[in-house]
């Protein structure tokens, strides 16, 4: 192992791209604020920020979920690229803080075109919102958001710390057993908190409350599936990129195959939840419920509605079904980019059809903000990845990962 490259050196072109994308993001932010910040309480401006920050935060957080889920399941195979998922999950820190600031601006800045429930006069005269008052109020929202993002950061930091703590100390068999057990305990704590946030309360608060009268019991899982597919796509992209740069020499087609399987499987899972949510509401045909799909299924967002289904279901179903395509670096890269974009669109219609039911206000501004977030993720991931050894070389399961065979 002495011949392997131990540390990642951030290439100049990578840095240029990073700063370029962040620059585009900041520029879009300024132009967007000038163009849209004033009119209609800046709803257009803040909705774009909400969509992008929440989407990219959930995507990078999915990397930590993947890390902890495989730790808990005693999964050895991702160890050769574990440091990549760790580096991606480190982006939760800057993105979490940004998302928190944006959410607080929305709730306390009086943006009731996005979150109608922050308007006390409306709530007082609205029977449904009055009934939800115990849950949908600024105090609960703030406390839960602080806890959510704070614990994601702290527990993620702990998991990364645990992984790095054995880099210089080879473990004996007894120590290895203890190390694995400690890892599963912390991973379990993270997973429980993940279940209480991403898989339940957080999508209700951050996204579903845009349509405050409406609710769906599928919504959180749907959001989770969406962000997890995109998260796996992001991991695959970074793995392919680092492999291409000559790092991660133990990653081979077997690992790529499994990453592809995850994207494929969770795309189908996403479709299952997407369809469940849609079909039950469509079948029951109760106007309180169908209101959510009014603008999406029949109105201005119809194109997006079907495009969403084509990109996120039909494309992975047809392209990723065969074994060969999951083992091919080019198709995996292509599908990863497509799915990241597809689920970004999914979040777009989740957020924007609320405040803008009559037209789709998508333009370059949205893509500019997205570019900023992509740049930020690239910057943080590259920075963290270059700081620590690429291979978790003392982990007890490493051999299992190197000889992995599907």
């Amino acid at each position: 192992m002495s011949s392997t490259k131990e540390y990642f050196v951030v290439p100049g072109r990578y840095k240029q791209w990073t700063y370029g994308l962040i620059g585009v993001g900041v520029l879009s932010l300024i132009i967007g604020f000038i163009l849209y910040g004033g009119e209609n309480h800046g709803t257009r401006f803040w909705a774009a920020l909400l969509q992008n920050s929440v989407y990219f935060l959930l995507v990078v957080n999915a990397a930590m979920f993947f890390f902890t889920a495989t730790t808990l399941a005693m999964g050895g195979w991702p160890l050769v690229f574990r440091r990549v998922t760790e580096a991606i999950s480190a982006s939760v820190i800057p993105l979490g803080i940004i998302t928190f600031v944006i959410l607080m601006c929305l709730v306390f800045g009086g943006h009731d075109a996005i979150y109608i429930w922050i308007n006390k006069d409306v709530v007082a005269h609205d029977e449904i919102l009055n009934g939800k008052k115990g849950f949908l109020n600024p105090t609960f929202f703030t406390v839960y958001t602080v806890l959510t993002i704070g614990l994601w950061i702290v527990l993620g930091w702990k998991m990364r710390q645990l992984s790095r703590s054995i880099d210089d100390t080879p473990l004996s068999v007894e120590e290895s057993k203890k190390y694995i057990f400690t890892g599963t305990v912390w991973a379990a704590i993270y997973i429980v908190w993940f279940a209480l946030t991403v898989a339940s309360v957080v999508p209700w608060l951050w996204l579903m409350s845009i349509n405050a009268h409406w609710f769906s019991t599928m919504y959180s899982w749907y959001t989770f599936a969406s962000s997890f597919v995109a998260g796996m796509a992001l991991i695959s992209l970074f793995v392919v990129y680092f492999k291409n740069q000559g790092y991660l020499e133990f990653v081979n087609k077997e690992h790529l195959h499994d990453l592809g399987k995850f994207q494929f499987a969770f795309s189908i899972f996403w479709t299952y939840l997407w369809f469940d949510q849609f079909m039950l509401i469509w079948y029951a045909n109760i106007s309180e419920e169908t209101i959510y799909f009014k603008s999406r299924f029949e109105g201005a967002y119809q194109g997006l509605f079907y495009l969403n289904l084509i990109i996120n279901f039909l494309a992975p179903l047809l392209i990723f079904m065969s074994r060969g395509s999951k083992r091919n670096y080019a198709t995996v890269t292509f599908m990863s980019v497509l799915l990241l974009f597809g689920h970004w669109l999914d979040f777009y219609q989740m957020v924007f059809a609320g405040p803008f039911p009559d037209h789709v206000p998508m333009n370059l501004f949205d893509f500019g903000i997205a570019a900023g977030f992509v740049g930020l993720i690239m910057w943080q991931t590259g920075r963290v990845f270059s700081k620590f050894p690429i291979l978790a070389k003392n982990h007890p399961f490493l051999k299992e990962s190197i000889i992995h065979h599907t």
């Binding site: 369809f275 849609f278 079909m279 469509w282 079948y283 045909n285 079904m321 074994r323 065979h405």
Partner: protein
């Protein structure tokens, strides 16, 4: 179906089995099959077996199921027995999807099981020769097929040199037959220890 002569080598360690498979193949002997108690990752590659086309068969069964479901429901609700369900149109695709999905899964699952049984030639009451009964317990069994030109003693010696712990020669039926193991033909082969 034919009766052939085989040299059987028994291994107790997969770490020995892997290099043995490679050396036997590169020496030019024809490996009939390798029987193992559990699936071994990478053994199919080492044996040079081609990828199974079972999944392609599964895909074909799947789309057959999809087509069956859609055409069947379409025919029933549009021409055979049109009914009014809550004022929805007769051609209401979302309501059909669950059944379409179920039939797709059913067709591909049952079809693949049957295809698998056919490819492996296993079925109730169908018998095949066992080269080594402990291949289902704790031993790895490599079976080398003999041709007219083969020298059994040479093969046996070679197997010994690559680490086989038990070697014997068997004359066995290669195909399957119906019936029982103990009394009926085809011959179970004379086992001679080398």
């Amino acid at each position: 179906m034919s009766v052939k002569k085989f040299v059987v080598g028994i291994f107790t360690d997969e770490q020995v089995l892997f290099p043995a498979v490679k050396r036997v193949r590169s020496a030019g002997y024809k490996i009939h099959d390798v029987y193992t108690p559990m699936p071994i990752h990478g053994l199919d590659d080492a044996l040079g077996l081609r990828q199974t086309s079972l999944h392609t068969a599964g895909f074909i069964y799947g789309i057959t199921g999809t087509t069956t479901a859609l055409s069947c429901i379409g025919w029933i609700f549009n021409s055979d027995w049109p009914q009014n369900f809550g004022g929805k149109s007769h051609f209401d695709l979302p309501a059909w999807i669950p059944i379409t999905f179920e039939l797709t899964v059913l067709f591909s699952a049952v079809g693949m099981v049957l295809t698998f049984c056919y490819l492996c030639q296993i079925a109730p009451f169908v018998r095949k020769h066992h080269f080594n009964l402990r291949a289902t317990d704790d031993q790895f069994t490599m079976v080398i097929e003999c041709t007219e030109k083969s020298n059994e003693a040479e093969i046996a010696a070679f197997l010994g040199s690559v680490g086989a712990v038990g070697i014997n020669t068997q004359i066995a039926e290669t195909g399957w037959w119906l019936g029982r193991y103990d009394t009926e033909l085809p011959p179970l082969g004379q086992k001679e220890l080398v």
